[in-house]
Amino acid sequence: MTDQIQRRIEQIKEELHVDFVALALSTINEVTKVRVIRWNYVAGNTNQHYQRIRLQVGKGIGGIVWRTGRAYQATELQKQPEKLIELPITRLEKLETVAAFPSLENGEVKGVLLIGYRQKTIITEDFLTVAKDKTNELVVYL
Protein backbone atom coordinates (compact mmCIF):
# COMPACT_ATOMS: atom_id res chain seq x y z
CA MET A 1 0.00 0.00 0.00
CA THR A 2 2.64 2.49 1.15
CA ASP A 3 4.97 1.58 -1.68
CA GLN A 4 2.11 1.86 -4.12
CA ILE A 5 1.42 5.43 -3.14
CA GLN A 6 5.12 6.32 -3.27
CA ARG A 7 5.40 4.83 -6.76
CA ARG A 8 2.29 6.68 -7.88
CA ILE A 9 3.67 9.99 -6.56
CA GLU A 10 6.91 9.47 -8.48
CA GLN A 11 4.92 8.65 -11.62
CA ILE A 12 2.87 11.81 -11.26
CA LYS A 13 6.08 13.83 -11.01
CA GLU A 14 7.27 12.37 -14.34
CA GLU A 15 3.89 12.63 -16.06
CA LEU A 16 3.34 16.27 -15.13
CA HIS A 17 7.00 17.30 -15.67
CA VAL A 18 7.19 19.06 -12.33
CA ASP A 19 10.18 19.43 -9.97
CA PHE A 20 8.46 18.44 -6.76
CA VAL A 21 5.40 16.48 -5.63
CA ALA A 22 4.13 15.95 -2.10
CA LEU A 23 1.06 14.29 -0.65
CA ALA A 24 -0.33 15.31 2.73
CA LEU A 25 -2.42 12.84 4.72
CA SER A 26 -4.02 12.98 8.11
CA THR A 27 -3.77 10.43 10.86
CA ILE A 28 -5.86 10.37 13.99
CA ASN A 29 -4.48 9.25 17.30
CA GLU A 30 -6.76 6.46 18.55
CA VAL A 31 -6.58 7.54 22.16
CA THR A 32 -6.48 11.33 22.08
CA LYS A 33 -8.42 11.65 18.80
CA VAL A 34 -5.97 14.39 17.81
CA ARG A 35 -5.62 14.81 14.06
CA VAL A 36 -2.13 15.22 12.66
CA ILE A 37 -1.54 16.20 9.02
CA ARG A 38 1.91 15.77 7.51
CA TRP A 39 3.56 15.56 4.11
CA ASN A 40 3.76 11.76 4.11
CA TYR A 41 4.94 11.11 0.57
CA VAL A 42 7.29 13.23 -1.54
CA ALA A 43 9.17 13.01 -4.83
CA GLY A 44 11.90 15.31 -6.11
CA ASN A 45 12.83 16.53 -2.64
CA THR A 46 16.31 17.94 -1.94
CA ASN A 47 16.29 17.23 1.80
CA GLN A 48 14.31 15.50 4.54
CA HIS A 49 13.20 18.64 6.39
CA TYR A 50 9.61 18.29 5.13
CA GLN A 51 9.16 15.54 7.74
CA ARG A 52 9.34 18.14 10.51
CA ILE A 53 6.41 20.16 9.26
CA ARG A 54 3.06 19.57 10.86
CA LEU A 55 0.30 21.12 8.76
CA GLN A 56 -2.44 23.10 10.43
CA VAL A 57 -5.94 23.15 8.98
CA GLY A 58 -6.61 26.60 7.53
CA LYS A 59 -2.94 27.64 7.37
CA GLY A 60 -0.38 27.21 4.62
CA ILE A 61 -0.96 25.54 1.26
CA GLY A 62 -2.01 22.15 2.56
CA GLY A 63 -4.08 23.63 5.37
CA ILE A 64 -6.02 26.01 3.13
CA VAL A 65 -6.83 23.28 0.61
CA TRP A 66 -7.76 20.97 3.46
CA ARG A 67 -10.27 23.43 4.87
CA THR A 68 -11.74 24.77 1.62
CA GLY A 69 -11.61 21.63 -0.52
CA ARG A 70 -10.50 23.80 -3.44
CA ALA A 71 -7.32 24.11 -5.48
CA TYR A 72 -4.74 26.72 -4.48
CA GLN A 73 -1.80 28.22 -6.35
CA ALA A 74 0.94 30.76 -5.76
CA THR A 75 3.98 32.00 -7.67
CA GLU A 76 7.12 34.17 -7.35
CA LEU A 77 7.45 32.88 -3.83
CA GLN A 78 11.18 33.28 -3.28
CA LYS A 79 10.83 37.07 -3.45
CA GLN A 80 8.27 37.16 -0.64
CA PRO A 81 9.74 36.36 2.79
CA GLU A 82 6.29 36.62 4.39
CA LYS A 83 4.89 33.98 2.04
CA LEU A 84 7.83 31.67 2.63
CA ILE A 85 6.97 31.66 6.33
CA GLU A 86 3.33 30.92 5.60
CA LEU A 87 4.21 28.13 3.18
CA PRO A 88 7.22 26.43 4.82
CA ILE A 89 7.52 23.63 2.27
CA THR A 90 8.26 26.22 -0.45
CA ARG A 91 11.10 27.64 1.63
CA LEU A 92 12.62 24.26 2.44
CA GLU A 93 12.46 23.02 -1.16
CA LYS A 94 13.09 26.46 -2.75
CA LEU A 95 9.94 26.32 -4.86
CA GLU A 96 9.03 29.32 -7.00
CA THR A 97 5.60 28.26 -8.25
CA VAL A 98 3.23 25.84 -6.55
CA ALA A 99 -0.29 24.45 -6.93
CA ALA A 100 -2.22 22.16 -4.58
CA PHE A 101 -5.35 20.07 -5.04
CA PRO A 102 -7.67 18.19 -2.70
CA SER A 103 -8.31 14.50 -3.04
CA LEU A 104 -12.02 14.26 -2.26
CA GLU A 105 -14.30 11.41 -1.26
CA ASN A 106 -18.00 12.26 -0.81
CA GLY A 107 -17.03 15.91 -0.47
CA GLU A 108 -14.60 15.17 2.35
CA VAL A 109 -10.90 15.96 1.95
CA LYS A 110 -8.82 12.78 2.25
CA GLY A 111 -5.48 14.20 1.17
CA VAL A 112 -3.78 17.17 -0.48
CA LEU A 113 -1.44 16.88 -3.44
CA LEU A 114 1.15 19.61 -3.94
CA ILE A 115 3.13 20.12 -7.12
CA GLY A 116 5.95 22.66 -7.38
CA TYR A 117 8.45 24.18 -9.78
CA ARG A 118 11.82 25.63 -8.80
CA GLN A 119 11.64 28.06 -11.73
CA LYS A 120 8.87 30.54 -12.25
CA THR A 121 6.25 28.73 -14.33
CA ILE A 122 2.85 29.67 -15.70
CA ILE A 123 0.23 27.09 -14.79
CA THR A 124 -2.37 26.64 -17.53
CA GLU A 125 -6.03 25.65 -17.16
CA ASP A 126 -5.33 22.41 -19.05
CA PHE A 127 -2.59 21.53 -16.63
CA LEU A 128 -4.89 22.23 -13.68
CA THR A 129 -7.56 19.90 -15.08
CA VAL A 130 -5.08 17.06 -15.61
CA ALA A 131 -3.50 17.54 -12.19
CA LYS A 132 -6.91 17.62 -10.48
CA ASP A 133 -7.93 14.36 -12.16
CA LYS A 134 -4.72 12.68 -11.11
CA THR A 135 -5.24 13.87 -7.53
CA ASN A 136 -8.76 12.48 -7.42
CA GLU A 137 -7.55 9.14 -8.76
CA LEU A 138 -5.36 8.90 -5.67
CA VAL A 139 -8.43 8.45 -3.49
CA VAL A 140 -8.45 4.71 -4.19
CA TYR A 141 -5.21 4.38 -2.20
CA LEU A 142 -6.26 6.54 0.72
Binding site: K33, R52, I53, G58, L84, I85, P88
Partner: protein, 339 residues
Protein backbone atom coordinates in the same frame (compact mmCIF):
# COMPACT_ATOMS: atom_id res chain seq x y z
CA UNK B 1 36.09 99.98 28.91
CA UNK B 2 34.62 99.22 25.54
CA UNK B 3 37.47 96.89 24.71
CA UNK B 4 37.32 94.95 27.93
CA UNK B 5 33.64 94.11 27.39
CA UNK B 6 34.46 92.81 23.94
CA UNK B 7 37.29 90.82 25.53
CA UNK B 8 34.82 89.37 28.00
CA UNK B 9 32.36 88.46 25.27
CA UNK B 10 35.12 86.64 23.41
CA UNK B 11 36.24 84.85 26.54
CA UNK B 12 32.79 83.82 27.89
CA UNK B 13 30.90 82.90 24.73
CA UNK B 14 29.75 79.27 24.85
CA UNK B 15 30.88 78.67 21.28
CA UNK B 16 34.52 77.70 20.96
CA UNK B 17 36.32 80.63 19.29
CA UNK B 18 39.75 80.55 17.73
CA UNK B 19 41.42 83.74 16.49
CA UNK B 20 43.63 82.75 13.63
CA UNK B 21 46.52 84.65 12.15
CA UNK B 22 47.65 83.05 8.94
CA UNK B 23 47.53 79.42 9.80
CA UNK B 24 48.24 79.58 13.51
CA UNK B 25 45.95 80.19 16.41
CA UNK B 26 46.90 83.32 18.34
CA UNK B 27 44.07 83.36 20.81
CA UNK B 28 41.35 80.97 21.95
CA UNK B 29 38.58 81.39 24.53
CA UNK B 30 37.55 79.20 27.50
CA UNK B 31 35.09 77.14 25.51
CA UNK B 32 37.83 76.48 22.96
CA UNK B 33 40.14 75.26 25.73
CA UNK B 34 37.43 72.89 26.96
CA UNK B 35 36.86 71.65 23.45
CA UNK B 36 40.53 71.07 22.82
CA UNK B 37 40.87 69.14 26.09
CA UNK B 38 38.02 66.73 25.44
CA UNK B 39 38.21 66.25 21.68
CA UNK B 40 40.96 65.53 19.20
CA UNK B 41 41.19 68.84 17.40
CA UNK B 42 43.48 68.84 14.38
CA UNK B 43 43.36 72.63 13.83
CA UNK B 44 45.11 72.56 10.47
CA UNK B 45 42.63 70.05 9.11
CA UNK B 46 39.69 72.02 10.46
CA UNK B 47 41.07 75.19 8.85
CA UNK B 48 41.46 73.42 5.55
CA UNK B 49 37.83 72.40 5.72
CA UNK B 50 36.79 75.90 6.80
CA UNK B 51 38.61 77.61 3.96
CA UNK B 52 36.96 75.25 1.55
CA UNK B 53 40.22 73.67 0.50
CA UNK B 54 38.83 70.29 1.33
CA UNK B 55 35.58 68.99 2.53
CA UNK B 56 34.32 66.31 4.85
CA UNK B 57 34.93 63.71 2.21
CA UNK B 58 38.22 64.84 0.71
CA UNK B 59 41.19 66.35 2.48
CA UNK B 60 42.55 68.40 -0.39
CA UNK B 61 41.13 70.54 -3.12
CA UNK B 62 42.53 68.50 -6.00
CA UNK B 63 40.65 65.47 -4.89
CA UNK B 64 37.55 67.41 -4.02
CA UNK B 65 37.07 69.53 -7.16
CA UNK B 66 33.33 69.88 -7.52
CA UNK B 67 31.99 67.13 -5.36
CA UNK B 68 28.46 67.39 -3.99
CA UNK B 69 29.48 68.49 -0.54
CA UNK B 70 31.47 71.34 -1.99
CA UNK B 71 28.62 72.48 -4.19
CA UNK B 72 26.53 73.71 -1.29
CA UNK B 73 29.41 74.91 0.85
CA UNK B 74 28.72 77.77 3.19
CA UNK B 75 31.48 79.27 5.31
CA UNK B 76 28.92 80.65 7.75
CA UNK B 77 27.91 77.14 8.80
CA UNK B 78 29.66 73.97 7.81
CA UNK B 79 29.32 70.51 9.30
CA UNK B 80 32.21 69.07 11.24
CA UNK B 81 32.74 65.72 12.90
CA UNK B 82 35.18 65.56 15.79
CA UNK B 83 36.39 62.51 17.64
CA UNK B 84 36.26 62.57 21.42
CA UNK B 85 38.97 61.02 23.56
CA UNK B 86 36.99 57.80 23.94
CA UNK B 87 36.96 57.38 20.17
CA UNK B 88 33.28 58.28 19.68
CA UNK B 89 32.28 60.73 16.96
CA UNK B 90 30.14 63.78 17.55
CA UNK B 91 28.71 66.36 15.24
CA UNK B 92 29.63 70.03 15.34
CA UNK B 93 28.85 73.05 13.27
CA UNK B 94 31.62 75.48 12.42
CA UNK B 95 31.68 78.98 11.00
CA UNK B 96 34.61 80.90 9.56
CA UNK B 97 34.82 84.68 9.40
CA UNK B 98 37.47 86.90 7.78
CA UNK B 99 38.29 89.81 10.06
CA UNK B 100 41.00 91.50 8.01
CA UNK B 101 43.66 90.53 5.48
CA UNK B 102 45.40 88.08 7.80
CA UNK B 103 43.17 87.48 10.77
CA UNK B 104 40.21 85.17 10.78
CA UNK B 105 37.83 83.81 13.41
CA UNK B 106 36.87 80.15 13.61
CA UNK B 107 33.87 79.22 15.72
CA UNK B 108 32.74 75.71 16.61
CA UNK B 109 29.43 74.75 18.17
CA UNK B 110 28.01 71.40 19.28
CA UNK B 111 24.95 70.06 17.54
CA UNK B 112 23.36 68.25 20.45
CA UNK B 113 19.99 69.88 19.92
CA UNK B 114 19.64 68.63 16.38
CA UNK B 115 20.59 65.16 17.54
CA UNK B 116 17.75 65.28 19.98
CA UNK B 117 15.42 66.35 17.19
CA UNK B 118 16.47 63.26 15.26
CA UNK B 119 15.65 61.18 18.30
CA UNK B 120 12.18 62.67 18.58
CA UNK B 121 11.51 61.81 14.94
CA UNK B 122 12.81 58.30 15.52
CA UNK B 123 10.54 57.93 18.54
CA UNK B 124 7.51 59.01 16.56
CA UNK B 125 8.26 56.44 13.90
CA UNK B 126 8.67 53.81 16.57
CA UNK B 127 5.29 54.63 18.12
CA UNK B 128 3.72 54.40 14.67
CA UNK B 129 5.42 51.06 14.10
CA UNK B 130 4.20 49.64 17.39
CA UNK B 131 0.65 50.84 16.71
CA UNK B 132 0.77 49.28 13.28
CA UNK B 133 1.99 46.02 14.76
CA UNK B 134 -0.91 46.04 17.25
CA UNK B 135 -3.37 46.63 14.45
CA UNK B 136 -1.90 43.78 12.37
CA UNK B 137 -2.11 41.47 15.34
CA UNK B 138 -5.78 42.29 15.73
CA UNK B 139 -6.38 41.71 12.03
CA UNK B 140 -4.77 38.29 12.21
CA UNK B 141 -6.74 37.44 15.33
CA UNK B 142 -10.02 38.57 13.80
CA UNK B 143 -9.32 36.59 10.66
CA UNK B 144 -8.48 33.54 12.72
CA UNK B 145 -11.75 33.80 14.64
CA UNK B 146 -13.83 34.38 11.52
CA UNK B 147 -12.23 32.03 9.00
CA UNK B 148 -11.00 29.42 11.42
CA UNK B 149 -13.07 28.96 14.55
CA UNK B 150 -16.38 30.23 13.16
CA UNK B 151 -16.05 27.91 10.14
CA UNK B 152 -15.26 24.89 12.28
CA UNK B 153 -18.19 25.60 14.59
CA UNK B 154 -20.48 26.11 11.61
CA UNK B 155 -19.60 22.79 10.00
CA UNK B 156 -19.99 21.03 13.35
CA UNK B 157 -23.42 22.60 13.65
CA UNK B 158 -24.42 21.23 10.24
CA UNK B 159 -23.07 17.78 11.08
CA UNK B 160 -25.08 17.73 14.31
CA UNK B 161 -28.27 18.83 12.54
CA UNK B 162 -27.89 16.04 10.00
CA UNK B 163 -27.97 13.45 12.77
CA UNK B 164 -31.74 13.52 12.99
CA UNK B 165 -32.05 12.32 9.36
CA UNK B 166 -29.87 9.36 10.16
CA UNK B 167 -31.82 6.05 10.00
CA UNK B 168 -29.31 3.29 10.60
CA UNK B 169 -27.47 2.97 13.88
CA UNK B 170 -24.27 2.05 12.05
CA UNK B 171 -24.37 5.31 10.13
CA UNK B 172 -25.08 7.18 13.32
CA UNK B 173 -22.06 5.83 15.14
CA UNK B 174 -19.75 6.74 12.22
CA UNK B 175 -21.13 10.26 12.18
CA UNK B 176 -20.83 10.64 15.93
CA UNK B 177 -17.23 9.46 15.66
CA UNK B 178 -16.59 12.17 13.07
CA UNK B 179 -18.20 14.83 15.25
CA UNK B 180 -16.08 13.74 18.16
CA UNK B 181 -12.93 14.14 16.08
CA UNK B 182 -13.99 17.53 14.84
CA UNK B 183 -14.62 18.69 18.39
CA UNK B 184 -11.15 17.59 19.41
CA UNK B 185 -9.73 19.53 16.46
CA UNK B 186 -11.78 22.61 17.34
CA UNK B 187 -10.66 22.47 20.95
CA UNK B 188 -7.08 22.21 19.69
CA UNK B 189 -7.55 25.29 17.53
CA UNK B 190 -8.87 27.37 20.44
CA UNK B 191 -6.05 26.25 22.73
CA UNK B 192 -3.47 26.96 20.03
CA UNK B 193 -4.87 30.43 19.49
CA UNK B 194 -4.70 31.18 23.20
CA UNK B 195 -1.15 29.84 23.33
CA UNK B 196 -0.03 31.97 20.36
CA UNK B 197 -1.36 35.07 22.11
CA UNK B 198 0.40 34.39 25.36
CA UNK B 199 1.49 30.97 26.54
CA UNK B 200 0.19 29.98 29.97
CA UNK B 201 3.47 28.10 30.43
CA UNK B 202 5.20 31.49 30.74
CA UNK B 203 3.04 32.40 33.73
CA UNK B 204 2.67 28.97 35.30
CA UNK B 205 5.87 27.08 34.62
CA UNK B 206 8.53 29.65 33.83
CA UNK B 207 10.75 30.73 31.01
CA UNK B 208 12.48 27.51 29.99
CA UNK B 209 9.36 25.33 29.52
CA UNK B 210 7.68 28.22 27.69
CA UNK B 211 10.64 28.60 25.33
CA UNK B 212 10.78 24.83 24.73
CA UNK B 213 7.09 24.77 23.79
CA UNK B 214 7.45 27.79 21.51
CA UNK B 215 10.48 26.40 19.70
CA UNK B 216 8.84 23.00 19.26
CA UNK B 217 5.87 24.69 17.67
CA UNK B 218 8.07 26.88 15.45
CA UNK B 219 9.87 23.77 14.21
CA UNK B 220 6.53 22.19 13.32
CA UNK B 221 5.25 25.26 11.49
CA UNK B 222 8.45 26.24 9.69
CA UNK B 223 10.55 23.08 9.35
CA UNK B 224 13.59 24.80 10.88
CA UNK B 225 15.46 22.91 13.60
CA UNK B 226 16.06 25.09 16.64
CA UNK B 227 18.63 23.88 19.16
CA UNK B 228 17.89 25.25 22.58
CA UNK B 229 20.70 25.06 25.14
CA UNK B 230 19.64 26.37 28.55
CA UNK B 231 22.70 26.79 30.78
CA UNK B 232 20.66 27.49 33.88
CA UNK B 233 18.07 25.44 35.72
CA UNK B 234 14.48 26.46 35.45
CA UNK B 235 13.62 29.15 37.98
CA UNK B 236 11.44 32.22 38.10
CA UNK B 237 12.60 35.70 37.13
CA UNK B 238 10.73 38.99 37.49
CA UNK B 239 7.67 39.06 35.26
CA UNK B 240 8.97 41.68 32.83
CA UNK B 241 12.35 39.97 32.49
CA UNK B 242 10.59 36.76 31.46
CA UNK B 243 8.17 38.46 29.08
CA UNK B 244 10.82 40.55 27.32
CA UNK B 245 13.16 37.57 26.98
CA UNK B 246 10.33 35.49 25.50
CA UNK B 247 9.23 38.16 23.03
CA UNK B 248 12.76 39.06 21.91
CA UNK B 249 13.43 35.36 21.36
CA UNK B 250 10.23 35.00 19.34
CA UNK B 251 11.01 37.97 17.12
CA UNK B 252 14.70 37.15 16.63
CA UNK B 253 13.96 33.56 15.67
CA UNK B 254 11.31 34.70 13.19
CA UNK B 255 13.75 37.25 11.74
CA UNK B 256 16.35 34.55 11.20
CA UNK B 257 13.87 32.18 9.58
CA UNK B 258 12.47 34.94 7.40
CA UNK B 259 15.71 36.50 6.18
CA UNK B 260 18.75 34.33 6.86
CA UNK B 261 17.97 31.29 4.64
CA UNK B 262 18.85 28.65 7.24
CA UNK B 263 17.58 25.24 8.31
CA UNK B 264 19.13 25.41 11.76
CA UNK B 265 19.23 27.90 14.64
CA UNK B 266 20.93 27.99 18.02
CA UNK B 267 19.43 29.52 21.14
CA UNK B 268 21.17 29.72 24.50
CA UNK B 269 20.03 31.04 27.84
CA UNK B 270 22.53 31.71 30.62
CA UNK B 271 23.24 33.78 33.68
CA UNK B 272 26.27 36.09 33.77
CA UNK B 273 27.04 38.56 36.55
CA UNK B 274 23.44 39.01 37.74
CA UNK B 275 22.23 39.29 34.15
CA UNK B 276 20.04 36.91 32.20
CA UNK B 277 21.66 36.46 28.78
CA UNK B 278 19.83 35.17 25.73
CA UNK B 279 21.54 34.55 22.40
CA UNK B 280 19.97 33.64 19.08
CA UNK B 281 22.52 32.59 16.49
CA UNK B 282 22.19 31.59 12.86
CA UNK B 283 24.78 30.79 10.22
CA UNK B 284 22.77 32.38 7.44
CA UNK B 285 23.50 35.07 4.93
CA UNK B 286 23.87 37.95 7.40
CA UNK B 287 23.07 41.59 6.71
CA UNK B 288 24.43 45.12 6.92
CA UNK B 289 22.99 46.61 10.11
CA UNK B 290 23.97 50.15 9.10
CA UNK B 291 22.03 49.89 5.85
CA UNK B 292 18.95 48.36 7.43
CA UNK B 293 18.71 51.14 10.02
CA UNK B 294 19.41 53.88 7.46
CA UNK B 295 16.63 52.88 5.12
CA UNK B 296 14.11 53.31 7.91
CA UNK B 297 13.62 49.61 8.21
CA UNK B 298 14.82 47.75 11.25
CA UNK B 299 12.19 49.30 13.49
CA UNK B 300 11.62 45.81 14.81
CA UNK B 301 15.23 45.77 15.99
CA UNK B 302 14.89 49.23 17.48
CA UNK B 303 11.72 48.19 19.28
CA UNK B 304 13.48 45.18 20.82
CA UNK B 305 16.31 47.48 21.90
CA UNK B 306 13.90 49.92 23.52
CA UNK B 307 12.15 47.12 25.36
CA UNK B 308 15.45 45.82 26.70
CA UNK B 309 16.54 49.29 27.78
CA UNK B 310 13.21 49.95 29.51
CA UNK B 311 14.35 47.64 32.32
CA UNK B 312 18.01 48.58 32.21
CA UNK B 313 19.17 45.82 29.91
CA UNK B 314 20.47 45.96 26.39
CA UNK B 315 20.36 44.21 23.07
CA UNK B 316 23.18 43.86 20.56
CA UNK B 317 23.08 42.53 17.03
CA UNK B 318 26.21 41.30 15.39
CA UNK B 319 25.94 40.34 11.75
CA UNK B 320 28.41 39.59 9.02
CA UNK B 321 27.73 38.94 5.35
CA UNK B 322 27.62 35.18 4.64
CA UNK B 323 28.76 34.46 8.21
CA UNK B 324 25.49 34.78 10.06
CA UNK B 325 23.87 36.81 12.78
CA UNK B 326 23.97 36.76 16.57
CA UNK B 327 21.42 38.58 18.66
CA UNK B 328 22.39 38.96 22.31
CA UNK B 329 19.99 40.17 24.98
CA UNK B 330 21.19 41.06 28.49
CA UNK B 331 18.69 41.85 31.20
CA UNK B 332 19.47 42.60 34.86
CA UNK B 333 17.78 39.89 36.90
CA UNK B 334 17.14 42.08 39.92
CA UNK B 335 15.94 45.10 38.00
CA UNK B 336 13.20 45.84 40.52
CA UNK B 337 15.77 46.23 43.26
CA UNK B 338 17.82 48.51 41.04
CA UNK B 339 14.81 50.68 40.39
Amino acid sequence: MEISIMEKVFEETKDALFLIDGNTCIRQNKAANDLASSYLLPLEKVLEIAKGEGCMLHSTMEKCLDCEVRADWDQAAFPLVLENLKGGQEQFSGSYTMIDQRKTLLSIRRLAVEDRLQQVIQNKRLIEYVNQAHENERRVLSQELHDGLAQSIYSLMLETRQLKWCQQTEDLSIKLQKIDEDFVALLGEVKQLAMDLRPTALDDLGLIPAIETLLHRLTETTGVVIHFIPMIENKRFPDRVETITYRVLQESVMNSIKHAIVDELFVTLSEQAAHLVLTVRDHGKGFDIQKVTEFSQGLGLLNMQERAESIGGHLTVHSEKSEGTVVTLRLPIQWEVLK
